[in-house]
């Protein structure tokens, strides 16, 4: 049945009274790839119910009367689902399709153009799970708008202190709020590795400021009708974050404010990545999202009744449990699934018509429909899409994703965080831009050369390296590996915390750490610049210009610039060298490698002092890279030959006393060369005297 068409007769309503909501059902990213290549994220089952149903049911039971779902990719599937599931509901659900939108901003501009929104509305994503009561919040928003005129948006946050399981790095954010009227003053995603810089004007302008790092962005925004035109006016707004930033920056010009509502009792979270998928699934199974639980009347459709028993075990009809299998805790099993004997399952969701073999161990496993798992398999913290076949004895660990119809051969063990898909990429496969795929012939860790797949091939899905800046975040965010890396990151931070501890009188509230990271970042940028210089054949002058601008951007002293540029220039040939066998290394360090950057080095290394810095920097680098030590003399010789380093500087450096083991080693290494230098000098002296 097609969705109800209401366009044209909206005049029948009293327009202000209709509560409207916009659901952006496209995520505009590929966090769930490769599963999302043939199925939109909003139809991904979460505890055996498609995510979009949670979202819509949330809106429906919150009292929203008219909902617009905005879809880009896989629109037909979403449409079909809405028609099937939502055509009979009280809430009027309309699907808006636009294939060519690339961001949430585009989507909102598109909706503005359709002019379907008439009053304050709720803006959410199509992957939201929540049981927040919206009506009082909308009332509050309206009341505040009447009182102050300036508010355009109320954003909902949920209290979730650091370490909370529904916090993911992607959503790590710090906000500052003025407690008296809950106005948002400052909003920043906590980018990893950087300390938060809070502008002091904030404190001078607003006497009282609450700084929150204990919040989870629910991605529920109650918007006034101005929001859409604001998106239309400003084409730079790609996401809601951009919008928030724009409003905050231009507060004085535009006179708009954003307000914040912090909820503590109710539940709201977005299935924004695999980690959140895991966390939210567990929350649903342990009933934090009540009344939206698998056994609840709100979610279950007439053809699948679900029972709830002790330890949060949810079973649909016709589930066959063999004798001796244990369902430990937080398990949901779909219709028609068979579980073999002696299998142990905990914290997992299994879809309908699956067959789980004997003696299988499932923990934090999310198995969709029609999946076959062979005997003696172990599957932990992984997601298996429809129709996956896992043969006997397979081990699938931490963060693997197996897309539709992947088949894994007997006794294979998958590396953590492997993502496999069964189909080769097609030409019009534009949902996952730049993905790289390759063939796997044998199991990856076990020695025996078994086929992963005996029916065809599995392709490993990898995010392409040059995709965009998100890649870095993503690798840190890999499901299952996250916790460890998070700990490490924390340690790193603290290690740099109090380095200069003896004189902490001068150490003003953690001012000492940014310096270290800035020079690191500078170095990274320099190396990046040089790499690009080679790749794109950029002229030296331009590289120098770029390095100089970097110097200003990071506020690096000239002395340090000299040292870091030296390191940067050496870095590239060193990287190549590390891959080579030792005997080739000495040969490879040739004039040719350096030729490109010699002018650059000359530009910075001019006077005696900078030369000394350059030498010290090389010495320092030697201690970190043993490869460099092997070619140390040759390197210095070359720098001497090319007149970067003067003789006097080398001898001065050689004669400076050092206690450091590395320094001594360097000097020993260079000994013959210095001797040669001195002899040469004597000769030339003799020449002159002649």
């Amino acid at each position: 049945m097609p969705p109800k068409k209401k366009q044209g007769n909206q005049g029948d309503f009293k327009q202000e009274d209709v509560l409207q909501a916009i659901v952006i059902a496209d995520s505009f990213n590929t966090r769930f790839a490769p599963i999302t290549s043939n199925k939109p994220r909003c139809l991904l089952p979460l505890a055996n119910v498609p995510v979009i149903d949670y979202t819509l049911e949330f809106l429906n039971s919150a009292g929203i009367q008219e909902t617009f779902i905005f879809v880009c990719s896989h629109a037909d599937q979403v449409k079909a689902h809405i028609a099937k599931r939502w055509s009979q509901s009280e809430m009027d659900v309309q699907v808006l399709v636009s294939e060519d939108c690339l961001s949430a901003g585009d989507a909102l501009r598109d909706i503005d153009a359709k002019s379907v929104i008439h009053s304050d509305f709720v803006l959410i994503n199509g992957d939201l799970v929540s049981n927040v009561k919206l009506i009082p919040l909308i009332e509050q928003h309206k009341a505040q708008r009447l009182k102050e005129k300036t508010p355009v948006m109320t954003m909902l946050y949920r209290k979730a202190p650091p370490g909370h399981r529904t916090r993911c790095k992607e959503d790590d954010l710090v906000i500052a709020v003025q407690p008296s009227n809950a106005q948002l003053l400052f909003h920043q995603r906590a980018s990893q590795g950087n300390a938060l810089q809070l502008p002091v004007e904030l404190l001078l302008d607003h006497v009282d400021v609450e700084l929150h790092y204990d919040l989870l962005d629910c991605h529920i925004s109650i918007c006034s009708p101005h929001v859409l035109p604001l998106f239309t006016d400003e084409f730079d707004f790609l996401t809601r974050d951009h919008f928030v930033k724009g409003i905050l920056v231009n507060e004085e010009i535009l006179g708009h404010t954003i307000h914040v509502k912090i909820i503590e009792e109710e539940y709201a979270a977005r299935v924004s990545n695999l980690q959140m998928y895991d966390a939210i699934s567990q929350d649903i199974l342990s009933r934090w999202t009540y009344p939206f639980t698998p056994d609840g009347a709100l979610l279950s459709t007439s053809d699948s009744k679900c029972s709830h028993s002790r330890h949060n075990i949810y079973l649909q009809e016709d589930v066959t449990l063999a004798r001796g299998c244990t369902l430990e805790e937080n398990v949901a099993i779909g219709q028609g699934t068979v579980i073999g004997s002696k299998s142990r399952i905990s914290h997992s969701v299994i879809g309908s018509n699956c067959s789980i073999g004997n003696n299988v161990r499932l923990e934090n496993a999310y198995i969709l429909n029609n999946v076959t798992v062979g005997d003696d398999c172990v599957i932990t913290t992984s997601l298996l899409d429809d129709g996956v076949k896992v043969m006997a004895g397979v081990k699938v660990h931490s963060g693997c994703v197996l897309a539709k119809k992947v088949v894994i051969g007997n006794n294979s063990t998958l590396r953590p965080a492997t993502r496999l898909m069964a189909e080769a990429p097609t030409d019009d496969f534009d949902d996952t831009p730049g993905a790289i795929f390759y063939f796997i012939f044998h199991s990856l860790i076990t020695a025996e050369p078994l086929f992963v797949c005996d029916l065809g091939a599995a392709y490993e899905y990898k995010e392409s390296a040059d995709d965009d800046e998100e890649v870095e975040d993503l690798s840190a965010d890999l499901w299952g590996l996250r916790l460890e890396s998070d700990e490490d990151a924390g340690d790193d931070w603290e290690a740099s915390d109090y380095e200069g501890d003896s004189d902490d009188m001068n150490d003003d509230f953690g001012r000492n750490s940014p310096e270290a990271t800035e020079s690191d970042m500078f170095l990274e940028e320099v190396i990046g610049t040089l790499e690009r210089g080679i790749a794109e054949n950029i002229s030296t002058e331009n590289i120098v210009l770029e390095v100089n601008s970097l110097k200003h951007a990071y506020g690096i002293q000239i002395k340090e610039v000299n040292m870091l540029v030296t390191q940067g220039v050496l870095d590239l040939p060193l990287k190549d060298m590390e891959d080579m066998p030792p005997q080739q290394r000495r040969v490879s360090l040739s004039y040719a490698n350096f030729k490109k950057f010699l002018p650059l080095l000359r530009n910075y290394i001019k006077n005696a002092e900078s030369q000394l810095n350059c030498l010290l920097s090389i010495e320092d680098l030697c201690s970190k890279k043993s490869v460099l030590m092997q070619v140390f003399m040759k390197l210095i010789h070359m720098l001497y030959e090319t007149e970067v380093l003067a003789e006097e500087v080398i001898t001065t450096w050689y004669n400076t006393k050092t206690e450091d083991a590395n320094g001594l080693k360097c000097r020993k290494e260079i000994g013959p060369f210095v001797k040669w230098l001195q002899e040469a000098e004597e000769e030339s002296d003799e020449d002159e005297s002649d």
Binding site: P161, P162, G163, V174, A176, P179, A190, Q192, G193, N194, A195, L196, Q197, L198, P199, V200, L203, L204, H206, V207, D208, V209, E210, L211, H212, Y213, D214, A489, G490, W493, E494, D497, Y498, D501, S502, D504, M505, D507, D508, F509, G510, R511, S513, P514
Partner: protein, 451 residues
């Protein structure tokens, strides 16, 4: 209480030198009581039986005399005098008396007038095992107040603080010292995910401290610091976040107290060990580690809400304090004192407002009016004098027909007939005639001396 109370009364009052040039700051009259009486009284009403009071050697006699003879203080006071010449800061004074201090201490400045219940603060200090607990108050809003000597005197120094929801003091800085941005490290935010930053806060200069902090103050690293507020407190607040292993060497002194505690435990019998094991008292090092993140040194701060809290350290706060205290003496425990001393005869045609104080021995002439003012002892006020919003100290003579408003008149001054003073400050022993607005009237000779 187990705390040893120390009153810092050696301040020079350098922020209001016009007032303090003729009288020690501690003895400036506020609602006809010397300033130092207020902290002494606060300690007395909170149950302290003795206190140490640090005064400047030049002021020792006058303060001693005032407190013991005139104010009838029951608390036992130990006077410690510090040399005038060397210009010691509060931390210097504290170091000076360090060996006389045997227990945890309460340090309070002589210029604090406050009605906060000390035992509440002490409780917080004890339960949290705090190294430092301090009192904060919202900065007084003086933008509208009239100040003698013009607007220049109206500047107030603000502090900016960061507090966690459980009142941990995470950050303190004076507003003037702030740079462009405040930096918060990630590890800090992780430990303290909610920080309330408050601007326009005043440090009330009331500190509960652990004894061990004194050893720390005598330590080499802090030897150049002189003041408690300016240097010691910010140092302690930063020190909270020092990582344990690198803090080891310098924390010897702090370790010592912890060791003593543990040694004590070992000698006890099995039963008390069990008690310690099951106790959640924070002295038990293991049990509270998580909630205090293993921090050894913890600073707390209490924000004054409804209680009275005024610091008299500038001319404007001095005026405000007088105005406020004339109405609210009851809040610091003075209940039964009449506003106008019984000995004062007020002629029937003159009025003294219910918001004014008059001390004994003063007299008012015919048809005079006094409103919102404080009149000291033995003042002579002539006929037809109008006094509004003024502070008149002792032994002042105001001759007939004068009109004063918003003015401070120091002791033994003499205002001639038909003076008109608005927002002025008349220093001690001056004779004034004529009209003045927004002026500080100083004896030139005296000025030369000061310079």
């Amino acid at each position: 209480m187990e705390f040893q109370a120390i009153i810092m009364a050696a301040g020079r009052g350098s922020r209001m030198s016009d007032l303090t040039s003729c009288m020690p700051k501690a003895l400036l009259p506020v609602a006809n009581r010397p300033l130092v009486w207020y902290p002494v009284n606060m300690l007395e009403t909170s149950g302290f039986s003795e206190a140490t009071i640090v005064v400047c050697e030049t002021d020792l006699q006058s303060i001693l005399k005032t407190l013991e003879q005139i104010c009838d203080v029951k608390i036992k006071l130990h006077f410690v005098s510090i040399p005038y010449e060397e210009d010691w800061g509060t931390l210097d004074s504290l170091r000076h008396i360090a060996d006389q201090i045997k227990s945890d201490l309460l340090v309070v400045s002589c210029d604090l007038i406050c009605s906060v219940q000390l035992h509440q603060m002490a409780d917080l200090h004890r339960t949290r095992d705090a190294a430092l607990t301090m009192l904060l108050a919202p900065s007084p809003d003086v933008s509208e107040a009239s100040v003698p000597g013009g607007k220049a005197n109206r500047k107030v120094e603000h502090d900016v603080v960061g507090l966690s929801p459980d009142n941990r003091l995470l950050f303190i800085s004076s507003e003037a010292d702030l740079e462009q941005t405040l930096t918060f490290k990630h590890s800090f935010l992780k430990k303290f995910p909610m920080v309330r930053l408050k601007n326009r806060v005043m440090d009330a200069h009331l500190y509960f401290m652990k004894r061990s902090l004194l050893d720390h103050a005598c330590d080499g690293a802090l030897s150049t610091s002189t003041t408690i507020k300016g240097e010691f407190i910010p140092h302690l607040v930063r020190r909270q976040f020092r990582r344990r292993h690198c803090a080891k060497d310098q924390d010897q002194s702090l370790n010592m107290t912890a060791d003593v505690r543990q040694d004590g435990g070992e000698n006890e019998d099995g039963f008390s060990r069990l008690v310690q094991e099951y106790s959640t008292h924070p002295n038990d090092s293991a049990s509270m580690r998580d909630c205090f993140h293993g921090d050894r040194m913890k600073c707390y701060a209490i924000m004054v809400k409804d209680e009275l809290c005024v610091r008299v350290n500038t001319l404007v706060s001095y005026c405000e304090a007088n105005r406020q205290m004339a109405k609210e003496l009851a809040r610091v425990g003075v209940l039964d004192e009449p506003l106008v001393a019984p000995s004062v005869q007020i002629p029937s045609k003159s009025t003294v407002g219910a918001d004014s104080l008059m001390a004994e021995g003063s007299s008012v002439g015919e048809r005079s009016g006094i409103k919102r003012s404080v009149i000291g002892k033995h003042c002579v006020i002539g006929d037809h004098v109008k006094i509004t919003n003024c502070i008149i100290m002792n032994h002042v003579t105001i001759e007939e027909g004068s009109t004063l408003s918003g003015t401070v008149v120091c002791s033994e001054a003499r205002l001639g007939a038909k003076c008109e003073l608005k927002d002025c400050l008349v220093t001690g022993g001056q004779s004034v005639i004529g009209k003045s607005t927004n002026e500080v009237i100083v004896n030139l000779e005296q000025l030369m001396e000061v310079e």
